[in-house]
């Protein structure tokens, strides 16, 4: 048996600390969160104020394989920056157990605005609580949280960084706080579309792209709403007709597994359309390989069920071929090269 006292002291799972105060820890510098001019205000975040040191620490952790049980996988294994922090696979198997996951890894974009639940069904309320999911899940990082703290404590640089960022010893709680701060800093707002919206240099949209934008506003932005291109709400967008399979604690039933309200059967969270050209394949199980497939779905293949969203006609949107093309051309203007190459976000 290892030194027990060390574990207890290092973990301080039980030890209380007062975090009522939104002030940042002494010695750390507050981070100026810049809200893009065309964006709404982000969520108020009093519990875990962002600091330069907290974000930098979160970035190190996000890419660190020490966070996994076999020391081979990091968050970035399934959330790669060049794919706007998605993994390019329908259902990944990069986890420690090597088993195929049941859900597609979503892109991590503009999470500082994601205030209505995380995961495809909203099963987690915030980035702090969420991180415990992948950290401990056997099919993901399968980490023992005691060993995690031990392993991080063995790195003097981490000990110093946790002290500066959180003024405390390394705990699993401060690990998830740092990860959350880094993820909140992942703002994508420099696409050609954004430059167009803000009248910035390079912000030109072609006539076809403008037609596509018009169509997206009419047909898609009821759900993929506003400048974030998501309403952060849950809808049944008609990709399935039958949600009776309640296997795996209801994983195929969408939001229902969280609320147990029949109205939520088959509802999944609206993903953002930002960087959509980078984040194929699409939907909660990655069933569509291309944007063409997605448009064919909305146009002709809508499946009817009691919870199908009223914004989608039962027979589909019946888009003309040139309309589909225009929409896809517009969606590509949402690709943000600065986001995926930002040195502040990349592997340290």
């Amino acid at each position: 048996m290892k030194n027990l006292a060390f574990h207890i002291a290092g973990l301080s799972f039980v030890l209380a600390a007062c975090h009522d105060n939104p002030k940042v820890e002494p010695g750390s510098q507050p981070y100026q969160f810049e809200v893009p001019a065309n964006f709404p205000a982000p969520l108020e975040n009093r519990e875990n104020p962002m600091t330069k040191e907290g974000i930098a620490l979160g970035r190190l952790l996000f890419y660190d394989v020490r966070l996994s049980g076999n020391n081979k996988i990091s968050c970035a294994s399934c959330h790669e920056p060049k794919l706007a922090f998605s993994d390019g696979k329908a259902l990944g198997n990069a986890g420690v157990s090597g088993t195929t996951l049941h859900r597609h890894a979503p892109a991590l974009i503009n999470l500082a605005w994601a205030g209505n639940g995380l995961f495809w069904d909203g099963g987690s309320t915030n980035l702090e609580s969420q991180a415990f999911g992948p950290l401990t899940a056997a099919d993901e990082m399968h980490q023992d949280l005691f060993e995690l703290v031990d392993e991080l404590n063995a790195v003097p640089d981490y000990v110093t960084r946790f002290k500066v960022a959180f003024n405390e010893k390394i705990t699993s709680q401060s690990v998830v706080k740092a990860l959350a701060q880094f993820q909140r800093s992942l703002v994508s707002a420099s696409s050609r579309y954004d430059k167009y919206r803000r009248n910035e240099p390079g912000g030109n949209l072609s006539p076809q792209e403008l037609i596509g934008w018009q169509l997206v506003q009419e047909k898609c932005q009821g759900c993929h709403a506003g400048e974030l291109f998501t309403d952060h709400d849950y809808h049944n967008n008609g990709i399935d007709a039958d949600f009776s399979n309640d296997a795996l604690e209801g994983i195929f039933q969408g939001r229902f597994r969280v609320t147990y309200k029949t109205a939520d059967i088959g509802r999944f969270k609206t993903p953002t359309l930002r960087n959509i050209a980078l984040t194929a394949p699409y939907m909660h199980d990655g069933r569509f390989e291309s944007l063409e497939d997605v448009l064919d779905h909305y146009s002709e293949e809508i499946k009817t069920s009691p919870t199908l969203d009223l914004k989608l006609p039962e027979k589909g949107l019946k888009l003309k071929e040139e309309e589909k093309k225009a929409i896809i051309t517009f969606l590509k203007t949402l690709t943000d090269q600065e986001f995926i190459t930002n040195p502040e976000f990349s592997r340290p």
Binding site: M1, V14, L15, A16, C18, S129, F132, G133, F146
Partner: protein, 263 residues
């Protein structure tokens, strides 16, 4: 390697915080301390693990009784409230719990009986009632990184299962229930913000904590299971929303009562 938990740290919990100023609107004169006991009962009998109890027509044998008590507040004769800072306590009676595979590969939570909490720095005065909640308030329930009081994800009273309600389990009672030849194991749990219940109990006479040792409250398990058919529904959790809310209501409205002042 096997890891075991130690509770000695609980003693430090109050030392790091001094949020009394805003938590209290009673002027402190000389502060006193007291103990508050949540005495688990099965009707008139003392609650015990691994022992048969008859409730109605059924025989129960319990293996655990665990619940979070939070935001303990003492109310004085004028109605002013003293909120005990950082008051998040896990009350429980439980045998060795195997928590392997939750947050650690191998983890044993040792058998424990905990019915009493110690409260310090109570502003002088005459108190007429006590308020507290069963469960964890939304702010803390929604954010597992806020480690106030005894809150932790390391004791099996939270749910961090992949992609499912990352939040605390508010209450958990388990064991076996039998009626004649039917019945078997049961686990009845509550959770979710809507099921956070606040209980307010009046003392029979005003209490001055400078001259009393403590307050005893009763938690009657017969009332926890009242109206809940644990043979028909042996697993109560978020998937049985209606039954779970009935169970939470039992904790909130009838299971707890004021018992006595200990001098």
């Amino acid at each position: 390697m096997k890891r075991i938990f130690i509770f000695a740290l609980a003693a430090f919990i109050f030392s790091s915080c001094d949020s009394n100023d805003d938590a209290s609107d009673v002027a402190p004169v000389t502060n006193s301390k007291t103990s508050i006991t949540f005495d688990a009962r099965v009707g008139s009998a003392d609650f015990a693990l691994n022992k048969d109890f008859t409730i109605g027509s059924r025989t129960y044998n319990f293996s655990k009784l665990r619940y979070w008590v939070s935001n303990v507040t003492l109310v004085d004769a004028k109605g002013a409230e003293y909120l005990v800072p950082n008051s998040y306590y896990l009350m429980e009676e439980v045998g060795d719990l195997n928590l392997s595979g939750t947050i650690a590969d191998k983890l044993t939570y040792p058998a424990r009986k905990r019915e009493t909490i110690e409260v310090e720095d109570i502003p002088a005065g005459e108190y007429k009632s006590i308020k507290f909640s069963i469960g964890v308030d939304a702010r803390h329930n929604d954010n597992l990184s806020l480690a106030d009081g005894e809150l932790t994800i390391a004791n099996g009273m939270s749910n961090i299962a992949w992609m499912w309600h990352t939040s605390y389990i508010f209450t958990s009672v388990g064991g076996t229930v039998k009626e004649g030849t039917t019945g078997g194991d049961f686990t009845a749990e509550t959770g979710l913000n809507a099921n956070y219940k606040t209980v307010s109990l009046d003392f029979t006479t005003p209490v001055n904590f400078a001259t009393t040792k403590g307050v005893v409250l009763n938690l009657d398990v017969t009332r926890i299971v009242d109206g809940i058919d644990l043979i028909k529904t042996p697993k109560v959790n978020a998937a049985q929303a209606t039954i779970m809310s009935a169970l939470a209501n039992n904790y909130g409205t009838k299971a707890l009562s004021f018992s006595a002042i200990s001098k």
